[in-house]
Symmetry: C2
Subunit: 252 residues, 2 copies
C-alpha cells in the first residue's frame, strides 16, 4: 500500500491526511491466482482495484479467438480506476501471476471527490498517465517494427518497476510469457520469440526465465525510440538520480 501512495502524487509526497483517507477507503484485500479474472469485462462494477502484489493485464478477446492486451499493471497500479466513472469496461482485468488486490468501493471514491479535491486530482492524474501510456502504445503498434516495440516495452517496464523498487541493477522480474508479450505488442508468438532472440544477439536485452536483463540501456532506448516523458515519472526515478544505486528511498 505504501509504495502505491508514494507514486500517486509523484514526485511530491502525498499529504498524510490524504494517505490515511486512501488507506481507509480500501474495504478489503483479495487474493487471485495466475489466470484468474480480477474484473470481468462488460459487467457493471461498483469498486476499483489496486494491485498490491503481482502483475496483471487488461485484455480483450476477439471473436476469432485472438487476444489483445491493452495494458499491464504492476504493484502500486490501480488496474481499473477507469471503471469509477464508466462502470462498465469492454475488456477484463486478468491476473498474470498470483495477485493481492485492494478493493476500493466507488462510493468511497465519490466521497473523496467531494471533500478532497487535491487527492481527486491525483487520482484523475493517474488515469491520465494510463491514457498517456495507451497513446504511446498506439505509436508502437501503428508505426514501429517488432524489434522497436519489444525494446520499448522493456524500457517502459524498467522505469515503471524501478519506481516501485522492483528492479535490481539493470534487470527485473517480468513474470509473463512470450505469448503475453505478443498479445500486448500485436505480434505472433513465433515472431516475438525471434525478436527476443534478435534483441539478445544485438546485445540490447535478454528476456529469459521471466527476467529481463538490459545489456545496453542507451542502445535499447535508441532502438525503441524511447522517450520516458510519457510515463510522467518526473526525473525522480531512482534510475535518474543515481544509476545503479538503489539505496535511498525516493519519497518517505
Amino acid at each position: 500500500m505504501q509504495r502505491f501512495l508514494e507514486r500517486l502524487a509523484w514526485p511530491d509526497p502525498l499529504p498524510e491526511e490524504e494517505q490515511n483517507r486512501l488507506i481507509k477507503s480500501v474495504s478489503q484485500t483479495v487474493l487471485f491466482n495466475a489466470g484468474d479474472e480480477i474484473v470481468p469485462a462488460e459487467t457493471p462494477i461498483d469498486f476499483s482495484s489496486i494491485i498490491l502484489d503481482g502483475f496483471c493485464c487488461r485484455q480483450r478477446v476477439l471473436k476469432t479467438g485472438s487476444r489483445q492486451i491493452t495494458a499491464f499493471h504492476v504493484p502500486g497500479d490501480f488496474c481499473d480506476l477507469h471503471a469509477y466513472m464508466l462502470k462498465t469496461l469492454p475488456d477484463s482485468a486478468v491476473a498474470l501471476t498470483a495477485c493481492r488486490v485492494g478493493i476500493v468501493p466507488h462510493e468511497r471514491l465519490r466521497e473523496i471527490t467531494i471533500v478532497q479535491p487535491h487527492l481527486t486530482r491525483m487520482l484523475w492524474k493517474s488515469t491520465l498517465i494510463d491514457a498517456s501510456v495507451y497513446r504511446q502504445w498506439l505509436v508502437c503498434l501503428g508505426r514501429q517494427s517488432a524489434l522497436s516495440r519489444l525494446a520499448h516495452l522493456f524500457c517502459e517496464f524498467y522505469l515503471r518497476l524501478d519506481v516501485v523498487g522492483l528492479t535490481k541493477e539493470m534487470s527485473y522480474s517480468l513474470p509473463v510469457t512470450q505469448s503475453d508479450l505478443s498479445d500486448a505488442m500485436g505480434l505472433s508468438l513465433v515472431h516475438t520469440n525471434r525478436t527476443c532472440a534478435q534483441l539478445r544477439q544485438k546485445g540490447l536485452a535478454t528476456f529469459a526465465q521471466r527476467t529481463v536483463t538490459i545489456h545496453d540501456w542507451e542502445r535499447l532506448q535508441e532502438a525503441a525510440e524511447f522517450e520516458s516523458e510519457y510515463l510522467h515519472l518526473g526525473n525522480h526515478s531512482r534510475r535518474w538520480r543515481s544509476a545503479g544505486s538503489n539505496s535511498e528511498p525516493a519519497i518517505t
Copy 2:
C-alpha cells in the same frame, strides 16, 4: 459550446449552474487554419482547448518521419484536457480543417475541482472515455485487419458525429485525407486506398469527397467487430432512439 455541454454529462443534462461555470471558464476563442498546430508537443501549457468547430487530431512524428495519429477530435471534444494534470504531452494537436477553439485556463479547471465536484467528475469522465477509445484503437491496431480497422473507424465516427448532430441519414462529412486515415490506423497510404476500395466494392461504405456514406450499417459493424459500448454514449445516440430520424433533440 452548447453541443459540448450536452455531451459532458451524457446522457443526463448538465445542471445549469455547472453549464454557466463552464461557459465562463472559456477565456477566449481562437481560430486555426487546416494544418496549424493547435497545441505543440513537449511544451508545458496552462490551458486546455475545446473544439467548437472543425476537426483536429493528436499526432506524433517519429524520427523516421512516419506519423501516428493517436486520436481524432470532433466539435464538442476537449482535444487536450489530459494536459490539465500532465502539463506536457509528447504529441501535438493539429487542426485537420479550419478550427474554432475555446481556451480554458487550467487555473479555472482547478477552481472547478474545488467547488464543483460533480462537474469535476464529468470532466474526469470525458478523459476516461478518451482512454477507452485509445484501448479500442489498440485492439484494432494490434489484432485487426486493415479492412476491419477502417470499418471500425467509420463506425466510430458515425456514432460520435451523430451525437453532435453532424450526420445526415447514413452519411457524414469526414474532412480528412486518406493519408490521415492511414496514419491513424497504422497503414500505408496505398493500402488504405485499396482498403477503401474494398469497403466500397463489398457494399459496406464509401469514403469519397471527404464524405463517408454507410451502405450497410449491420454488415459494416460485423466487418469491424464493432461494439459501441466503449464510446459510452449510452443508448441515447439519436441513431438508437429513432433510426433515420434526426428531428428530436437528445437533451435540452
